[in-house]
Symmetry: C2
Amino acid sequence: VLVTTVLDETRAAIRPLDAAAVAAARDRQARLTKPPGSLGALEDVGVQLAGLSGQCPPPLPQPAAVAVFAADHGVHAQGVTPWPQEVTAQMVANFVAGGAVINALAAQAGADVVVVDVGVAAVLDELPGLLVRNVRHGTRDLSVEPAMTRDEAVAAVEVGISIASGLAADGYRCLLTGDMGIANTTSSAALIAAYTGAAPEAVTGRGTGIDAEMHAHKVRVVARALELHRPDPSDPLGVLAALGGLEHAALAGFVLGAAASRVPVLLDGVIAGAAALVAAALAPDSTAAMIAGHRSAEPGARIALDALGLVPLVDLDLRLGEGSGAALALPLVQSAARVLRDVATFDAAGVTEK
Amino acid sequence: VLVTTVLDETRAAIRPLDAAAVAAARDRQARLTKPPGSLGALEDVGVQLAGLSGQCPPPLPQPAAVAVFAADHGVHAQGVTPWPQEVTAQMVANFVAGGAVINALAAQAGADVVVVDVGVAAVLDELPGLLVRNVRHGTRDLSVEPAMTRDEAVAAVEVGISIASGLAADGYRCLLTGDMGIANTTSSAALIAAYTGAAPEAVTGRGTGIDAEMHAHKVRVVARALELHRPDPSDPLGVLAALGGLEHAALAGFVLGAAASRVPVLLDGVIAGAAALVAAALAPDSTAAMIAGHRSAEPGARIALDALGLVPLVDLDLRLGEGSGAALALPLVQSAARVLRDVATFDAAGVTEK
């Protein structure tokens, strides 16, 4: 019997950019009342939005929603961060109460926030603004055993797909990735090394701010995990299960769900970059929907974005997570669409061309 | 008799950042529920806004208005751009009709647009959204004689002061610089070279997009002007009159007026950078109010911002002007204030510190 999963269906629905809409957007950019190319990287975003939607001008990417996927990490036991694990659940409460940075930034950008417990190491109650989709209460320690079973990884991916599909069905026209999980930069580094072949020391950063000694230890933990699992990039679910976090899995699904719905997905920092590598391995055309919100201070973020062929919009030395860099980039993405929709052409405005 | 001009009064009213509010903002940044320093450059903007307003948290920098100062340039006669001079007036009409890029970007950012004719080489009628404050119909050719008399320069500076003061009095809490003037990157290059001592070839760029031959010619025109006038940076009005445009003069006044009103002023690209050098030469403490919106593709912009000690927020290879880079940066500035105002502290949120 053929068993078709939600993940299989989602992968099958993902298509590249629409070439005709891309061409129409490039042509329109050249006729708008501005010197050709003078809006730099913003012009490329506008073209991508046209190609994704199949329309020129593309619809404005609003309303927008940021989904913050929260989970804990068994590798926390290795002492890779000075923060206690309970901070993950405490910050979930902070998100739900509206007191975190992502709440402030999303409010300023006009985006809604939804928080998803996909793997917090605590029993949380469903609340307004908090969806409990807990697959397990934190991963196993990736430095000594696979972080997840394949079934757990698929379940978490499908949580992300269902959140993205649901938001798209509710009328959201731009999705932003958010994440919370103490120790998740360690898992991110391992995933990025596995997918790009980069060395552990090249992808492992200071996270929320650790000293040189803890950083050296964190690099060794990542290196040990890679030696233990010998991840095979041609088996994306195997890599994810061995090295990922439950929020990485959910974020990969969120990206796939957005791509299948033809809704742009704005990536936050290094956790999103790692998850986007998983998504691209599962469905290469999903990069059509990806926009890199910002260049994180984490070194692995740059390596992940380079591997994905994505150019980040904001570069402010941020290293917070939560979706903060994506929220800050949202107005830029909306502006890119607005230019294609609203700016007059030379002909229409009666402006002489050079 | 003592004659006190508007310019003198404005210069005298400008003060540095309030040290107590700066200290309070730095302290508050450290207590918010985020890793210390994790919002990168955004934290510095928040601290500056607190110091400028004298309050922590600072008021949100909204509502915001972008003032687009339009003027023409006698140096256009030297063939430094492929665009005909009449495009300045045509683009003013486009701004007033709402069809230009700045209209789209300001609308997306929630900012109002006011267009000011401070020196267009045409007789324009006052219209809703267009203020006619024309000091003269374009400057003289800076490569053969002073672009303005000192009186004309002061008159244009005072136009800018009065626009900024008026907007502040109307309740605007963030001012954005905009500009329009065919050939104004040539004048900007000359001003930046005069104030920073940089070589003409280091500050002269491709403007709206010129070929290598025209660029080499443009460098020679700038070099010739510097040789002719031998500008003395200790005489800011003399430098401005010799090499500036009427929009540069008005923008310098706009910056001074904002600084005197303790309202942040978000600088656009290379024209604003040149004008900000004039403002800083007239009143060094005016840098307290300046925020660099973006890093223009024009090489002189980077040199001007470095001389002013300003770090740009957006870096998207923009080279449009009009205020486009300032408008794109506005949500970032508002976000910086929003974080200081709205984010919970570790204590208040019950989150464990590392």
